[in-house]
């Protein structure tokens, strides 16, 4: 198929960017979206032009690197799918596709479609862990039974890949889904109880410092999340934070 691509080009973090238009042809419906981008880049290189920079790595939907706002939605039109797993069969011959970077003050554009998501790392660093050192004498793994339901729910929260689609989708560029997924994972497990209050206070504090917007419960984050992280996590974090801020 033949496609018209409108892509955000920006030389570096400080440069002005703008949408540029490109044509690609001979795109197979079996290609992944990123393979289509590879075709475009090969074409640009052949013309002696600079290829489009974009983050990508595992290309199997788990590393969370890829981050494109495709035709008005993070990771494109198919739900529960990362850009790398999106295939061209979702598009039609002759389509025009808009490709933009995540837009958020906390995710500044570094080049073209590449954004800086280190704010997420700093939020985890502020408390997204259980403070145990490596030890050969830790409690036996089966010493504390955990109800399967809690373990499964903690797992579901923990499947977050940190791609930032939630922020990109949110009209307020809020990071609540990301932060609450980590808070939830640890507050659902007995191992996370000791630092439960401290953790949620510190992580929210860091989230606020990073310049994300506030949550207005539109639910867009969860709809666009490639791992379908549930809004219940946000409620759980709200509850935890309220309890922590009243008692701590």
């Amino acid at each position: 198929m033949k496609l018209t691509l409108k892509i955000w080009r920006q030389k570096n973090a400080t440069a002005q960017g703008k949408m540029e238009t490109y044509q690609v042809s001979d795109i197979s419906e079996h290609m992944s979206f990123l393979e289509m981008m590879d075709v475009l880049n090969e074409q640009l290189i052949a013309e002696g032009k600079e290829p489009v920079a974009f983050d990508h790595d595992c290309r199997e939907g788990i590393c969370g690197s890829c981050s494109m706002y495709i035709n008005g939605q993070p990771h494109g039109p198919r739900q529960a799918t990362t850009t790398c797993q999106l295939h061209m069969r979702e598009f039609n011959d002759g389509d025009t596709i808009y490709i933009e970077p995540w837009r958020a003050k906390a995710f500044p554009v570094m080049k073209d479609l590449v954004v800086d998501r280190s704010a997420f790392d700093r939020i985890i660093q502020s408390g997204g862990y259980v403070s145990v050192n490596t030890s050969g004498n830790t409690l036996d793994a089966n010493a504390i039974p955990i109800p399967k339901e809690d373990a499964d729910e903690a797992f579901n929260a923990a499947t977050c890949i940190g791609c930032g689609a939630c922020v990109a989708a949110c009209k307020n560029a809020s990071a609540m889904l990301f932060v609450s997924a980590k808070v939830s994972q640890l507050s659902l497990l007995p191992q996370g109880q000791v630092e439960r209050k401290e953790r949620v206070l510190n992580m929210v504090d860091q989230m606020d410092k990073e310049g994300f917007g506030n949550c207005t419960n539109t639910g867009a984050c969860s709809v666009e999340c490639p791992k379908e992280i549930s809004l219940e996590n946000i409620a759980r974090m709200n509850r935890d934070y309220l309890a922590a801020s009243v008692t701590k």
């Binding site: 003050k105 929210v204 539109t218 219940e232 801020s245």
Partner: protein, 226 residues
């Protein structure tokens, strides 16, 4: 460190206050509506009842205290929502998308609470200027029940077509605001449960349709009966 300002300055705290004031206003709407429904009765019944109701609402001490909470809630809800949260949220995305399809992931009302809220605020100012201000700060003629004739003022106001129309439109706006706001306030407070949340959601939807509709019926009824 984070704990000290948690209840005042954090993004979540701002939302808790939005939610609490919002829920309070939701409760208030019910009492307000209960009084207003008197207006749907025959004039000879409605006039004294409504005037008494007005008198009671403005003099009973407990209600007075609550009314200050109400004024505060309205102001806080508006200032927090429009001046602080909406502004912060706009700042969180300085460059907008060139092409965006938010309709694929969220409902319109949820994305436009600030706009809807601003419209409601304008309505409240108009509403209070016409009734509350006149009742409190001007001499109303005496009416049924030997009380200041609030009933007469209301009926006269709604006999103006344009005035009734503003009310009806405002109630539709309120409905949209509540459609999202009702369940959202529970989510914000973390009042979420597998069993009860679906019930809360249904109540919220019913509330946001029925309450504004009943409010809107009154001006329509009075206009048509004029």
């Amino acid at each position: 460190m984070a704990a000290k300002s948690a209840l005042l300055k954090s993004s979540l705290a701002k939302k808790y206050w939005m939610s609490l004031t919002g829920l309070f206003l939701i409760l208030f709407l019910i009492t307000h509506l209960a009084g207003n429904l008197v207006l749907l009765q025959a004039p000879e019944v409605a006039a004294p009842a409504f005037n008494e109701y007005t008198e009671f609402m403005t003099t009973f001490p407990l209600i007075k205290i609550i009314s200050y909470v109400l004024y505060f809630s309205i102001l806080f809800h508006a200032v927090d929502g429009i001046l602080i949260l909406s502004r912060e949220n706009r700042n969180a995305r300085p460059i907008q998308y060139a092409h965006s399809k938010p309709q694929n992931n969220s409902i319109w009302a949820s994305r436009n609470m600030g706009v809807l809220g601003t419209a409601i605020l304008v309505f409240i100012v108009l509403h209070m200027a016409n009734f509350w201000f006149k009742y409190k700060f001007t001499e109303l003629p005496m009416g049924a029940g030997d009380l200041p004739d609030m009933y007469g003022l209301v009926v006269a106001s709604f006999q103006e077509g344009w005035y009734s129309a503003i009310y009806v439109v405002s109630m539709i706006i309120l409905g949209f605001h509540l459609w999202h706001g009702f369940e959202s306030s529970f989510q914000t407070l973390g009042l979420n449960h597998k069993k009860y949340t679906p019930v809360i959601k249904v109540i919220g939807k019913v509330y946001s349709v029925v309450v504004p509709a009943l409010f809107a019926i009154i001006p329509i009824y009075l206009f048509l009966n004029s």
